[in-house]
């Protein structure tokens, strides 16, 4: 009798692994990490977020407003870069082509115009995330209004999504909505989590 070591044929398992791996690689979409965590409220709405041409305004738990303009996967139009240049021109700040290119791959920010340049050039993402101080949005210097105005100048059909944290103050959200309405945006998408609600007429 031979004392053969027991062998398990792992081929099917490995095949399955590869199949799954390929599936996940193909379905994965990569997004740069957001600067803040936002815990959105839930609703029964089942509409999905538009994938491109979207202005996202995030309102964090501590009432800071983050601005992001996203063109989805298709970046051939270079809208982000154009908007940055236009807003920069408004505030007499010139961005180098390298900075514009870097900005196109970046995410939402909450910074006044003069702090934007160091933020773009900062290599360390942790340092970058700590730089956000808020976009000025009072009547004397309303930079958020400018960002929205120039974004819509380059692409008037931009949809606006407001992604507020559950515990953000409504006052701040209202302020953002007011600024949007000043830009003739009267249609908003409030980002929410899906929840299901069952009601029966019996308890009426």
């Amino acid at each position: 009798m031979h004392a053969k070591p027991p062998k398990i044929d792992m081929t099917p398992m490995v095949d399955l692994f590869f199949l799954l791996l390929i599936f996940f690689i193909l379905t994965a979409t990569f997004r740069p990490q957001e600067a803040v965590m936002v815990d959105t409220p839930s609703s029964i709405s089942n509409t999905t977020t538009p994938e491109k041409h979207i202005i996202t305004l995030m309102i964090s738990r501590d009432n800071m407003v983050f601005f992001n303009v996203d063109n989805g996967i298709d970046s051939s139009e270079h809208l982000r870069g154009k908007i940055l240049q236009a807003v920069g021109q408004q505030y007499q700040i010139k961005f180098t082509p390298a900075e514009i290119k870097r900005f196109e791959g970046m995410n939402s920010f909450s910074l006044p115009m003069d702090k934007l340049k160091p933020w773009i050039n900062e290599k360390e993402s942790k340092v970058r995330d700590a730089m956000h101080t808020g976009i000025p949005m009072d009547s004397t210097d309303n930079q958020l209004l400018m960002w929205i105005r120039f974004s819509r100048q380059y692409y008037p059909e931009f949809e606006v999504a407001i992604k507020g944290d559950r515990d953000a103050d409504y006052k701040q959200v209202k302020k953002v909505i007011d600024i949007l309405q000043d830009n003739n945006v009267n249609r908003f998408n409030l980002t929410t989590n899906l929840e299901s609600v069952e009601i029966s007429l019996d308890n009426l």
């Binding site: 791996l21 609703s43 709405s45 953000a168 249609r187 908003f188 929410t192 609600v197 007429l201």
Partner: protein
Amino acid sequence: MAEIIANEGGGKQKGKRRAKRHSTHIDMTPMVDLACLLLTFFMLTTAFSKAKVMEIVLPEKTPKDQKDEAPQVDKDRALNIILIGDNKVLWYNGLADPRKPPLPVLNETDFSDEGIRRVVLQRNKDLFVQIEEMNKALVEGTLKLPKDTVTARRKKMMTEDKKGPVILIKAAEGVKYHNVVDIIDEMAICNVARYALVDINSVEKKMVAQFLAGEASGTASLK
């Protein structure tokens, strides 16, 4: 380091093993390890559920030079919901007009199923039943309609609704964002045809302050 020691100590054994080898085998273990690792990584980083959005359309702002007029709402249909902090909701029927006293009484409730939903549903019962019956028929298969027609019918039912409430949602100080989303969601749940998000006016501010003061004195006297 471990490898070097193993080589020195087991040199003899290694030689023996090599002599025993017959077939050419490719060791796939590292490749499978790597595949496993990548698989785990992609599985953990993939987000399947996409974020959902709730659409709201607000009325256009009135220009600053024009006087801001209060929306004209039928007194019998008006239902005012005032959100105040601490997840509390106040509501009253009709309109608060200081020229026509007495002012309506504020009722307190909350965001639970038995709270504001009951209030809204009772007012909106007819339309709600109408729409729910259509939905039920669609689910059971007794009614077969394309999706567009369903939406159109729903819309038609809502615009033709003449009895349902006109709900005015107002937010006082200290309201959190999720309160507002919850109340708009409640409108969607109860199939309310007409509702608007409006600013709280001075009369209502006074009413809320009075209510809260009354409540505070009430709890104080209880103690």
